[in-house]
């Protein structure tokens, strides 16, 4: 675990590193599915960097979260769009930050309502630890520990470049 320094890493650069990790496994013809909204941006980058022909899937986990009773429905729900058949495919779920693992669990449940994939891998830019479920990233570029009350957020700048910022909860 690296302690967070004052300067945050270049997210675009990290996307290239993530693509490098995935490239050796392209023979399985994986399909990319990005989790809204940070994962969706990264999945788009990966599609270009890896030269994948297929449209990426976009998944909104709002309907599968485990905190509906406490928090209600998220005010901004986007439609999940999976433009390919899930059945028998090797899928790569893409997200920006892996933390408790609950979002991943929700995404898996949703994906399995579409069919039975051959396998599901997980690709993230950042793993901040703090897992509450037995979930791990298959491909990860950055292990980081955050301070109390801090969270890591991926944003898209005006010029379209992805960039990290730190927020206090």
């Amino acid at each position: 675990m690296s302690i967070l320094s004052d300067s945050l890493p270049d997210a675009e650069d990290q996307c290239r590193q993530l693509a490098d990790l995935i490239r050796p496994h392209l023979h399985r013809q994986p399909a990319l599915i990005g989790i809204f909204s940070g994962g969706a941006w990264i999945a788009e980058r990966l599609k270009e960097l890896l030269g994948l022909p297929e449209d990426i899937g976009l998944i909104d986990v709002s309907f599968y979260r485990d905190d509906f009773a406490a928090k209600g429905l998220h005010p901004q729900v986007k439609p999940t769009v999976i433009p390919f058949d899930v059945e028998g495919r090797h899928l790569i779920l893409v997200d920006d930050v892996l933390y408790t693992g609950r979002t991943t669990r929700a995404a898996l449940n949703e994906l399995f309502d579409y069919g039975r994939p051959a396998s599901v891998s997980m690709a993230v830019l950042a793993d901040r630890g703090g897992r509450e479920l037995p979930i791990a990233a298959t491909y990860c570029v950055w292990n980081v520990a955050l301070g109390e009350g801090q969270s890591l957020v991926l944003g898209k700048q005006d010029d379209g470049q992805l960039a990290w910022r730190l927020e206090n909860e």
């Binding site: 309907f63 599968y64 509906f68 429905l73 729900v77 439609p79 999940t80 309502d113």
Partner: protein
């Protein structure tokens, strides 16, 4: 008087009427419905949002259609659905409305979908729930008397948005028995809240409520005039009972003046859409050629209705 549909955080906790709903909440419902459309297109048409929750369909007025769409919507949210068809006369011999509610709350009901013949019935229920401290139980109005049918109003708006993309440039005409129509009232409130610049009501004097202009509606008695350049035409059902009480002479005369025929439809814009809340009376308010024609979007309305009701139930149940 604070809006009984919203909780103290300004979130939607009951859906009783479109009137008084902030535009942001209407838009939220339509956007959420879009996501549920996608769910309904899959093989596994279920999401686990309301798993373990009990939805009680309390229908004091018969309606298999509406009740079925709510049932489908609730089941697609993984809720348990219980249907209670309470014939009004037997209810008056037995339990009061509020006693029924108390009993069902004791059976751990989470959401009531209520259709009632008396305008205002859902408000009575919502107020009672608040009084007994049950802010975890929610009410969705499936139609109260002549007052409101908010899910129909919302699905009508979803339909318009789907085909016309926006609201702010539209001319929308509502034709028929608006006096007795809760659908019409909900549509009118939704259209004006969403910024439709021209809302028209077309019908004979006997079927239009007084003071419609105060609701922001232009009244037309001449259907040819009223349909000119319209983008959306919403046809209302003419009920048989209207022929009594000197409101109308006959279905035939009504159809001649206010029925939507292909000739009348041609007066509207070429890409105008024709809507109807159903069930249709062919040959009374609408000609079969129009009902089955390319401009009618009546069946898609039904599909949208399930997604809209899923959206409404999941939003209120979470607040």
């Amino acid at each position: 008087m604070n809006n009984p549909q919203l909780n103290t955080n300004g979130e939607l906790t009951h859906l009783m009427s479109i009137e008084g709903l902030p535009q942001a909440i209407i838009t939220q419902i339509l956007d959420t419905a879009a996501s549920f459309m996608e769910v309904s297109a899959r093989d596994v048409k279920k999401v686990p949002l309301l798993r373990g929750k009990s939805v009680f369909n309390l229908f004091f007025e018969n309606s298999t259609r509406t009740r079925t769409t709510f049932e489908i919507a609730a089941k697609r949210l993984s809720a348990d659905v219980i249907n209670l068809d309470i014939n009004k006369s037997s209810a008056s011999k037995g339990e009061t409305l509020l006693d029924t509610i108390d009993n069902l709350c004791a059976m751990h009901a989470n959401l009531f979908v209520v259709r009632h013949a008396s305008s205002g019935a859902p408000y009575l229920i919502a107020e009672h729930l608040q009084r007994i401290g049950r802010d975890d139980v929610h009410v969705v109005n499936a139609g109260d008397g002549r007052h409101a049918h908010p899910t129909q109003g919302l699905l009508d708006m979803y339909t318009i948005r789907h085909y016309k993309k926006g609201f702010t440039q539209l001319r929308v005409a509502i034709v028929g028995d608006i006096l007795h129509s809760r659908v019409a009232r909900s549509d009118i409130h939704a259209l004006t809240t969403l910024g439709v610049p021209e809302v028209r009501a077309i019908g004979p004097e006997t079927l239009l409520p007084k003071h419609l202009d105060k609701l922001g509606v232009h009244v037309f008695h001449d259907m040819d005039e009223g349909l000119k350049d319209c983008d959306v035409i919403i046809m209302l059902r003419l009920q048989n009972e209207r022929m009594t009480g000197a409101l109308l002479p006959s279905a035939g005369e009504y159809f001649r003046h206010y029925g939507l025929t292909p000739q009348k439809l041609a007066l509207a814009k070429a890409d105008a859409i024709v809507m109807h809340p159903g069930p249709m009376n062919r040959g009374v308010e609408i000609h079969s050629a129009v009902a089955d024609g390319p401009q009618a979007v009546i069946l898609p309305q039904v599909t949208f209705g399930i997604a809209v009701r899923m959206a409404v139930m999941s939003i209120v149940a979470g607040n």
